[in-house]
Symmetry: C2
Subunit: 259 residues, 2 copies
């Protein structure tokens, strides 16, 4: 069993090594990441310039580093380093990725989606922490290790069922966690965009994004995470295609046959 | 009927104005775009700095411009300019976006997905052209205008059916087009990453991405576009959630009950 470990917060994030510590004795592993943090650049791939790739040590661990994006890192590991994973673990991300809205933005989940498109099961792990030093909280470390270990063992044993390509996991801060784990669908959106009109130091008008929380439905990741203090596990598919019936409907729609 | 027009190639792209010309007499419109091209930054949103927004004229048309990303542009149009669209048109993009792989990367489709998450039907239009000047080919313009006009009229009349949130349209170059239109699912991946090992001018090893085409199945966008020379229309959903049955299966999987 080969597990590829990566993230979008760069090789400097202790979150990556926490994943490694969770599974190191279970499988063959390889860690690869980016030189610099690449959050929210989601799913960029580099095709117009050459990429660098080197091996280094950080926090005592061997890790490969590229000057490309998180998506580049995955492809470099598979194609250049020849590491063909049975499972990809992405994270632990600084910041949770709740709702489809954030799943679509997220670099952490983006890595998992890219693996899934190639047919590799993938687990993205995101946590409600603010900075790298938060990863050194011992209770938090234990929670992550137990969870990631359990998920990895069960995925190794049973695989993912058809229609599940990625598990997107969100972990509350230790002080909010109420010791519950929920498998729930991702809410559609988490925030509505609102803007505060401001003036910059030169007196020009500018706009600051201010998210306004969307009312969250019960049995969604947002609700379980925010209201119930649970770890959420959202199984997602990368198959965005509408159903075959809908394809036929759209066929008639575009030809104007429907009336 | 209000239609918001946007893209990810900046307000300097004639592709945006081509969309406008296709629908200007059918509905109220507003055009908004970015100062600079933002291809392949996919779905970035700006939350850590203030955004600028101004109105200008380009190629004879009134257009709003932001220094943010394509996703920011959509939110600014709705929230700051108060334009609540019934339909979002995104494109015409320089470069086609075939397969789920590219749909996940694409800024053009990203704009449409963002609209869809807010419940607004959206159509993303991408074309196999190489540069802005290609948009001035008269046959090509006529093809786009007829198609976008027809899709807009039919969407205005019938709406999208449940389970369809975005139509992703891909248009071949004029010389490859064989006058066929296909409603087809998006292939999973279009390219496998391969890397050519090279040395830079300082003698250091570097890696160039070289895509290797994946064998394309019949009845996919890649096949219809590349082999049959058709315009492809792929209806997609933004609901990445696995089915409720799969959620229950994963519940048992994570608890280790399955054996």
């Amino acid at each position: 069993m080969k597990v590829l470990l990566s993230n979008d917060d760069s090789y400097l994030s202790p979150g990556l090594y926490l994943l490694y510590e969770s599974v190191k004795d279970l499988c063959d592993t390889l860690m690869i990441s980016t030189q610099y943090p690449k959050s929210a650049t989601g799913r960029e791939i580099t095709f117009d310039k050459p990429l660098r790739l080197y091996k280094t040590k950080y926090l005592g661990y061997e890790v490969f580093v590229t000057d490309g994006t998180p998506i580049d890192a995955i492809h470099l590991a598979i194609e250049v380093l020849g590491f063909k994973p049975d499972l990809v673990l992405s994270g632990v991300n600084v910041g949770e990725n709740l709702s489809l809205q954030h799943i679509f933005y997220s670099g952490t989940v983006g890595v998992a989606i890219e693996a899934a498109l190639m047919g590799i099961p993938a687990i993205a792990v995101s946590a409600d922490v603010y900075e790298f030093s938060d990863f050194y909280n011992e209770n938090f470390r234990e929670l992550i290790k137990r969870l990631v270990r359990m998920l990895t063992i069960n995925t190794m044993k049973f695989g993912f069922p058809k229609g599940v390509d990625v598990l997107s996991i969100n972990i509350p801060r230790t002080e909010h966690f109420r010791n519950c784990y929920r498998v729930v669908r991702a809410a559609r959106i988490r925030w509505r965009a609102r803007y505060r009109i401001d003036r910059d130091v030169r007196g020009n008008i500018c706009y600051w994004l201010q998210g306004e929380p969307e009312v969250s439905e019960v049995d969604t990741d947002v609700y379980s995470f925010e209201r119930e203090g649970c770890v959420t596990i959202s199984p997602i598919t990368v198959d965005l295609n509408s159903s075959p019936e809908m394809l036929r409907y759209v066929e008639r729609l575009v030809s104007g046959e429907i009336s």
